[in-house]
Symmetry: C2
């Protein structure tokens, strides 16, 4: 245990009893997210049950200069929850109350530990849904913290667009509120957007106010296959220009399709570049969108356009998409997947994926590609044997090269996975001198550097 943590251990134990643990098993489980498995153990894990408790714990850590790592479901991919400097891991998973749902205003307030599926189960009967879907059943606090998005972002935006406000415990242990219940505001600096994507480095979000949406009358999916990646991307560009408000438009490259066909038993599909679509709206409007998309895709060399309306078939399709990661891993038994993330202007997407293909070839690795094509966002999933240090290094080099490529094409090293501590170098390359402002903000709001130190911004 780090010395600083030792000074507050008794205090914490007295107050939180069984809810504080320093068992190796629990600390190990809290030492990493998904993706890269570099474990950095916190000294203790405390399960907080209220904003006031979080404030109390942070207050103690503030006084004793103990590092703090907030923890939701541990599904992040860039090492966000690794306790690089030990300290206290505050587990928020028991803060899982849905505080208020307001159907008239299409919003709700939840504790940070509520997961997106829990919320959706709760509000479905009221004809509502929360669309942001990063794949994992992540906590909404964690999703806000990493500025998560996923398959529905092309229509509904990311966490950036869908958080209305927070309750935040500051680095000093004060409780503040950002935003209001109004849909928009020009009142002062946008603290809400500053905390979205701050990865626990500026304070801990304990409550989140979210936008909700009415469940669409009708949802339908479609698939189209292409001989070339360019044809698939050209279809996406045309659809965006025409303003077809697609709910999802997902790209799988031929390598990923081969893996997904094998893993998810997809029938009647070839291992070719493929688009999966989803449309939301009235019956008539969904039909119109699906027909327009069919025209666009055949204009661009798409074939086998299939429209999937039955709930069951639609679910199977999206399950296959969500299982892309597992399908990739299953294609190389015993290997791990170092999922990485890049986002470029959509006009550069085909070029970026083609160039990434060359980098994959040079690396000698297999790396299926899936992407939220409507946003220009894609994931490369290099498969590597974690026991093979040289191969692991090649996987790291490949992901770094993809970050550099995306930045060179006017894009970003992270569309939705965040920075954590894996992408600090890429962040510097992307933002240049603007990093200085990020550092100033970090120092201003967390002068003792106790909030998730070593993450998000190089200090």
């Amino acid at each position: 245990m780090y010395a600083a943590t030792a000074t507050i251990h008794t205090h914490l134990k007295d107050r939180y009893g069984e809810r504080l643990s320093d068992s190796l098993a629990l600390r190990s489980q809290h030492a990493h997210g998904e993706g890269l498995q570099d474990a950095h153990l916190p000294d203790v894990v405390v399960f907080a049950e209220s904003t006031e408790e979080v404030a109390h714990i942070v207050g103690l850590c503030h006084a004793a200069r103990v590092p703090i790592v907030p923890f939701g479901t541990g599904t992040s991919l860039e090492g966000h929850v690794a306790a690089l400097h030990g300290g206290v891991c505050i587990d928020l998973s028991r803060m899982n109350q849905i505080i208020a749902v307001n159907p008239e205003d299409l919003d709700c307030r939840v504790q940070a530990g509520v997961t997106r599926m829990q919320l959706n189960r709760d509000i479905k009967a009221q004809g509502l849904f929360f669309p942001i879907d990063p794949g994992a059943d992540a906590s909404l606090g964690g999703m806000a913290a990493t500025r998560a998005s996923g398959t529905n972002a092309v229509r509904y935006g990311t966490m950036r667009e869908n958080v209305l406000g927070f309750t935040v415990v500051t680095a000093e242990g004060k409780i503040i509120h950002t935003g209001t219940r109004a849909r928009k505001s020009s009142a002062g600096y946008d603290l809400t957007r500053l905390f979205v994507g701050s990865e626990g480095t500026l304070g801990i979000m304990t409550e989140v106010q979210l936008k909700l949406y009415g469940l669409p009358e009708c949802m339908a999916a479609a698939i189209s296959q292409f001989d070339t990646l360019e044809g698939a991307v050209a279809s996406v560009i045309m659809a965006m220009q025409m303003g077809i408000p697609m709910a999802r438009i997902e790209l799988l490259d031929s390598v990923q399709m081969a893996a997904s066909i094998a893993y998810s038993k997809l029938e009647g599909l070839a291992a070719k570049p493929t688009l999966f679509f989803e449309f939301h709206g009235s019956e008539r409007y969904v039909a119109e969108q699906a027909e327009m998309m069919q025209d666009i895709s055949s204009e661009n060399g798409g074939s086998d356009y299939r429209w999937v309306k039955a709930q069951e078939e639609r679910t199977a399709l999206w399950q296959a998409r969500h299982h892309a990661y597992y399908a990739a891993m299953a294609s190389r038994p015993g290997y791990q997947c170092m999922a990485t993330d890049a986002c470029v202007p959509i006009s550069r997407l085909a070029e970026c994926i083609t160039e990434a293909g060359k980098l994959i070839e040079q690396s000698g690795l297999s790396a299926p590609i899936v992407g939220h094509a409507g946003d220009g966002n894609f994931h490369l999933q290099p498969l590597y044997d974690p026991k093979d240090a040289e191969m692991t290094a090649r996987a790291h080099a490949l992901t770094s090269a993809v970050s550099a490529l995306a930045i060179r094409l006017g894009g970003t090293c992270s569309g939705e996975h965040g920075i954590g501590f894996h992408k600090l170098e890429a962040l510097k390359a992307e933002h240049g001198e603007a990093i200085g402002l990020m550092q100033s903000i970090k120092k201003a709001l967390d002068p003792n550097n106790i909030m998730n130190p070593g993450k998000t911004v190089p200090m």
Copy 2:
């Protein structure tokens, strides 16, 4: 002239020659925006023509601790451009180059002095438009600085959702870039969103990267009149819940309708609560939306639902809406209008406007109300005789009371006009302890308090 300004005057004059002016006329013209006419003259006005020039001027001001006020078109409403502490006004109106338009990516980059109408004229031939429409033909830099929105925000969002990045000159005179051309990013703190709405107090935005949209195939408008405000608002709530993607949904109260009927010669309409709608999309989809809206509005007591498809009639309708401010003023010749701004959860909109009505009655003033009802945003336009100090005080008291009312109902004191220096007290009431974080950020990015001092955040 303030002493500090005097120390750099020669430097500036040498470099900028005729583009620097200390004439009283020009300084007076730059001493206030619209709305309240409290003039605070800058010591000099400099017309900058490039980011490098802005950086040079800011660098000089930084060294000599001279206050700086950035100036676009001077159409803001809360005193943003008043030079409360003298100093240098940097006029950006000559930075009016459209740097790049990318139809495939639906984005563009403009210098901060480009106005929204200039941009829309330029991109129309490419089938594109930029929807944010605050009424005034404001500069896009200024619109970003005040987090402007307006009639189209219910569908297309505000400047918050539509700025992808900036070139910024920092308080030290450094040039940095925020954001990328990617549609979304999880890479570091969201500096772009921090500068949106920062009102020139953290740095000067000299270039703006913006989202664009394809011009809809079809646009149609509609009008519906209601006996009660509640009926109008209930229609809006139902339409939002059903997810009808209306482009505009505007509310005018009976007082405003009386003024607009007289001023804009609107025929066949009564002085009753009225909704103006606009629908964008394919022919078929626009028809579907307009029909759904008609059903909703008659369910809620709406009458005389009129569908306006002809371009000319549609333009006349929206002109009447945009002239609401002038119509209000024309209803009391010789009076001024102290337009104020509030935004509440939509479920509280009817209550808020009804309560505001009581406050208007108590004030003894006439104050027409117009609102972007889909966002829960409305403007009260108290009419007062600026030569009558007692009446002016009553108008001020009324606008303050409306801010307090909106905050009490879970909303904000400013939906889109910003804080400037008029609403600092309301900001404090709205944000409580979170003001401390805003102050920390201001101090971190502008330690000498030279960037538009006295605005946005009380220091």
